[in-house]
Every structure is written in C-alpha cells, then in structure tokens.
C-alpha cells in the first residue's frame, strides 16, 4: 500500500466513520468509557497535529494506534483501580435494549483478539486482510479468529437473534 499523508478532512472523515467502533474497541482496554474516549481523542488529535505518513490502511493504523495508546496508559496507571463501567456499549436500531445488553456481555466474554476481529469487521467494515494488518497476524489467523468469535456470539445471542425461519 502506498504511503499517504492524511489531511485534516481525511482525519475528520475517519473519525466520523470509525470513531464509534474505535471507542467500542478501546473499552476492551480502558477502565471506563471516559478513559476509552480519551484514548480515541488522543489518537485523533495526534493525527491532526503531526499528520504522519500512513503506510497501511488508515483504519488499521487507527486501531493499532488506539491499542498502543491503551497499553501505554495501562502501564502508566497500573496502580489505579478501574471503576465499574455502567454505560451501555450499544443502542439497537429497533430499541431492543435487552439484546443490546446481551451483545455487550457476550462481547466482553470473548477473548480480546476475537473481540478485536469482530469489532473491526462488523462495526468498522474492514476486510479480513485489513484486520490481519491491524492486528499483525496472517490473514488466515485473522479469519479464523473472526469465525470463532462469530460462532460464540451466535451461540450466546441465539435467543435474541431469531435467525431461523
């Protein structure tokens, strides 16, 4: 992929397109929603200030940047006790709050690498190749993580999904 320099408008569009999914992704690392939001904002503000040359798919770059920022924050604040996060992760288009909570709890139960794959694929619309790029694994590994995650979610959410028929 050719190197590209992101303009301020590109960064804004990326925020609109991936901000919500990145926040969801960051909640897997951060103590609460505010901390997760700070991580995402930090990455985008840094992008606006420095405008680095991005060699990979911008979405993959963003996910890696958020993960790095989260790991740095965890190292710096390792002695702080996390507060319970009571904020809902999702809203359902049809207003089904019960299913939204079930999905939140199912996602939280997934191993981190499987959760990452689902978030990137479903809510950021990334291809499995981009997921592989963002997570630094071969495409086959990314694909199998995604399939496993989907299988587990389907099992847990079966009563809510009503896919049969």
């Amino acid at each position: 992929m050719p190197e590209q320099k992101l303009s301020a408008n590109d960064v804004k569009q990326l925020y609109d397109r991936h901000g919500a999914a990145l926040l969801l992704f960051a909640r897997g690392f951060a103590a609460d929603v505010s901390a997760a939001e700070d991580l995402v904002h930090g990455v985008f503000l840094n992008l606006l200030r420095t405008r680095p040359n991005v060699r990979e798919a911008p979405a993959a770059y963003l996910y890696r940047a958020v993960k790095n920022a989260a790991l740095n924050a965890q190292r710096n604040h390792s002695r702080e006790a996390p507060l319970p996060d009571h904020e809902a992760w999702f809203t359902h288009r049809g207003g089904d709050r019960e299913s939204a909570l079930a999905l939140q709890s199912a996602l939280a139960e997934l191993p981190a690498e499987q959760r990452e794959a689902v978030v990137m694929r479903i809510w950021s619309g990334m291809t499995l190749e981009e997921v592989a790029e963002a997570t630094g694994v071969p495409p086959n590994t990314a694909a199998s993580r995604y399939r496993y995650a989907l299988g587990k979610l389907r099992e847990i959410l079966k009563p809510h999904a009503k896919l049969e028929g």
């Binding site: 925020y15 919500a20 926040l23 503000l45 809902a88 992760w89 359902h92």
Partner: protein, 126 residues
C-alpha cells in the same frame, strides 16, 4: 455462509455508542495567521504611539515650552533598556562587573532627585 451473512446483518443492527465530538485541535498551521495579525497590530500601535510621542515633544520644543517633568527614570529606561542577559551572564560568571552593572541599573531605574525638574524635587518644594 448464508447464516453468517444474516448474523452479521443482525449484529450491525446494534450501533456502538458514538464518542464525543473531537475537541478542536490547536494546530500551529491554524493559529499562525492570528498570531501574525496580533503581532502586526502590536507593532502598529507601538509605532503610532512612539511617533505621536516624538511629534509631541518636537512640537513643544519648537513652541519654546519646557519639556515635561521627568517623573522617574522610566523614559531613560525606554531608550536604554536593562540588559538582563548581560546581567545574568555576569552573575553566573561571578564577574566583578556584576556589582557595577547592578549599580548602574539602579541609577537608571530608580527616581532621580538630583535634576532640577525631577518630580521628587518638585514635591519636596511643595
């Protein structure tokens, strides 16, 4: 495969909570025109004030009026600014010139009373 597609579509019915709007980044590229404008304005105001001041003094001298009373050494300071750099350097180097420079600076910055038109002398007379 078809089931996967249906389940993916089901998952997409859930929208992750959006983050707050991105705070405005105070980038240099955006703020420099304002800084340049502010600097130009300060320079212009300073220049005009200086010109008016000089013009006023010249007019008074031409009309034969005595110059305004010198209240403090501030006017002298404007012409001869205190060199904090050389003072600091002298202090750091422990130079013997430091005391002398400090004395000179005090003489320049404190009110003078040995001139006929000094404010202290005028006040003392009253």
């Amino acid at each position: 495969m078809n089931d996967d597609r249906k389940f993916e579509a089901f998952l997409r019915e859930f929208e992750p909570r959006s983050p707050r709007p991105l705070p405005q980044a105070k980038t240099l590229s955006r703020s420099w025109p304002r800084l340049a404008a502010a600097a130009a304005l300060i320079l212009a105001v300073g220049g005009v004030s200086l010109w008016i001041g000089r013009h006023h003094i010249q007019t008074n001298q031409r009309d034969g009026q005595p110059p305004a009373l010198s209240v403090t050494g501030a006017a002298a300071n404007q012409q001869q600014p205190i060199s904090t750099i050389s003072l600091t350097r002298a202090a750091l180097e422990g130079s013997p010139d430091f005391d002398r420079e400090l004395d000179d600076m005090s003489r320049r910055s404190l009110p003078r009373f040995d001139r006929k038109d000094s404010m202290l002398r005028v006040l003392a007379k009253e």
